[in-house]
């Protein structure tokens, strides 16, 4: 179910967007197929690894996209517009869920309870899981730039546009995020550099 993040951006041309705005269902299906994994991935990482909640949020986002794509005027990158929508939806959902969680209870996640530490140590997939868990622990303002950078391959400038902040702020938040990951997962350094 998991794949290594790829950095190349999907190519969505304006004709496809226009077709979607006209209500062409097949075009929207193509749009959905192009972005569903990206949207879902961000949602999974933003919601503490809760796949069910991430699926729900992903559906909400694409439903909203269906109804509001006519408002997209093309004066910004479609991806920027979409990522903003994703981040807003995830942030809202994250807040909503946090309010209903008792203090001290951690977020449900897809962490495997029967994870074998020995296997995890040597399996690259498990390193990925550890990183994912560590990212889940980050505050949203540090987590989102990491996700946009490493899942979506956005530049600092693009991240700044999506998050509506300065490039300097993005750099600062990524610095904090990187350091937090290194601090938490420093013990994996040997395996990573092998």
């Amino acid at each position: 179910m998991e794949q290594r993040a790829v950095m190349e951006q999907p190519t969505i041309d304006s004709d496809l967007i226009v077709a979607c705005q006209r209500g062409d269902r097949e075009s929207f299906r193509l749009l959905f197929e192009t972005y569903k994994d990206r949207v879902f991935s961000i949602a999974v990482y933003s919601l503490g690894g809760d796949h069910a909640a991430a699926a729900d949020v992903t559906q909400q986002i694409f439903l909203k996209l269906m109804t509001s794509i006519t408002q997209f005027r093309g004066d910004a990158e479609f991806t920027t517009w979409l990522y903003r929508m994703v981040i807003n939806a995830c942030t809202d959902e994250h807040r909503r869920r946090r309010r209903f969680l008792p203090i001290g209870e951690s977020m449900p996640s897809s962490r495997t309870v029967d994870r074998n530490p020995q296997e995890k140590r040597y399996a690259r997939l498990e390193i990925g899981n550890s990183v994912r868990d560590a990212i889940n622990e980050l505050k949203p303002k540090f987590r989102i730039p990491i996700l946009l950078k490493y899942l979506e391959g956005l530049s600092y400038e693009e991240i700044a546009t999506v998050m509506d902040c300065s490039k300097g702020t993005v750099a600062s938040r990524l610095n904090r995020g990187h350091k937090a990951l290194a601090k938490r997962l420093g013990h994996l350094k040997g395996e990573l550099l092998e």
Binding site: E2, Y156, A171, H178, L181
Partner: protein, 390 residues
């Protein structure tokens, strides 16, 4: 090593987001700075770790689910309403809204009070000045129509809106008559005040029982005795004193007395001789004007043309001729000004001569003073008349 640390640039450095020059600077710094190098190792590890995060595939049935939900869009739309409503009904939102509403209401109420009940801040300098019947310890507010009174042991300072300060001496009684963007006005019933105003000319006025003092951008003291007579002494800039059509313009270094029913006397420089000042006192307010005029003319200096120029319009033709001759001896008029014009009190002629005379009236030739004078003479120039204050 000795350049600025590069902690903040390290992520951007690792990810090729820096310019060539910045990259070079960070590289050079890292060679010599242990602290930054350790930080760099941390960031680099963080970058390598972050590169491991896998993208997660969306569930295959997501499209089908989406179509199902899309078909019931109406239902979804109706859900969207309550969802928005829930947002507004959240306790935090309600609390924040309530606080905001209260703050806005208080702000509007305060503005309303300021608008309908303007006031000036008053600070007690000595003793316990009174606003109305209430004494103030440190600070108070002088509202429109209210009296501020000091006894023999108290003094106060008033902030005149944002345009200056007025210091109220002991045994003084003043009232706030008006305060609005185009006019600020105090009434000085008795006592003494010192004003320092940095507003444009003709914005601040002080009513006294015998004249109105109009500020032309200046500092001055104004004193009113128990009979309503006043004395103005200007220390900086100019002040105009007026009662009906009688007007005196008083520059720095000069003074001017006023009397109830007569209005402002003739301004004079305070360094004039005693004989000159005594003679002027008689001319302005005494019975023996002819003899006094002789004495005045004899004792007049070049600078005293301030007094002579004002007297031209206040005496009869015979005395005007005598004053004219003495002024010609002291400071001849410009070539364009003839004797006949002066005797006829033609405004242009009087103004032209005055401009020349002003050079001898202290440093009045400065651009600021000229601008002030221009404002005064080109405006309507009429100060509110005093009525029923004799």
């Amino acid at each position: 090593m000795f350049s600025r640390h590069v902690y903040k640039q390290l992520s951007a450095y690792c990810q090729g987001e820096l310019s060539t020059a910045e990259t070079k600077r960070v590289s050079e710094h890292l060679i010599g700075c242990n602290s930054c190098r350790n930080e760099y190792e941390q960031i680099k590890l963080g970058v390598i770790l972050a590169q491991q995060i896998p993208r997660v595939q969306a569930p295959a049935k997501l499209w089908n689910d989406l179509q199902g939900r899309s078909a019931s869009a109406r239902v979804l739309n109706t859900k969207a309403g309550p969802s928005s409503l829930r947002l507004f009904l959240r306790p935090k939102f309600l609390l924040a809204s309530s606080i905001l509403i209260v703050l806005v209401s208080l702000g509007m109420f305060w503005l309303y009070l300021r608008e309908t009940h303007p006031f000036w801040e008053v600070v007690s300098i000595d003793g316990s000045p009174q606003i109305g019947a209430r004494g103030i310890k440190q600070k108070g507010r002088l509202g429109l129509g209210q009296w501020l009174e000091t006894d023999s042991r108290s003094r106060a300072e008033i902030a005149v809106s944002s345009i200056g300060h007025v210091e109220i001496d002991p045994n003084t009684r003043v009232r706030l008559v008006e305060t609005k963007p185009t006019e600020h006005r105090l009434e000085l019933q008795h006592g003494r005040l010192s004003a320092r105003i940095w507003a444009p000319p003709k914005l601040f006025y002080v009513d006294t029982p015998s004249a109105v003092a109009a500020d032309l951008g200046c500092a001055y003291t104004l004193e009113v005795d128990e009979y309503g007579a006043s004395l103005l002494r200007v220390t900086s800039g100019w002040v105009a004193l007026q009662l009906r059509d009688r007007e005196s313009m008083v520059p720095a270094g000069a003074a001017c007395a006023t009397r109830p029913g007569i209005g402002p006397g003739t301004p004079y420089f305070e360094d004039a001789s005693d004989s000159f000042r005594a003679a002027l006192q008689n001319i302005d307010f005494g019975p023996e004007k002819n003899q006094s005029l002789d004495l005045l003319l004899v004792n007049a200096r070049v600078r005293d043309t301030l007094t002579l120029w004002h007297l031209l319009a206040r005496v009869d033709a015979a005395d005007r001729a005598r004053i004219y001759e003495r002024m010609v001896e002291l400071v001849p008029p410009p070539d364009t000004v003839t004797r006949a014009d002066v005797m006829a009190l033609k405004p242009d002629a009087l103004d032209s001569w005055k401009e020349k005379l002003e050079l001898s009236w202290s440093n009045y030739s400065s651009p600021t003073m000229k601008a002030l004078k221009k404002v005064w003479t080109s405006g309507t120039g009429k100060i509110h008349e005093m009525e029923g204050k004799k």
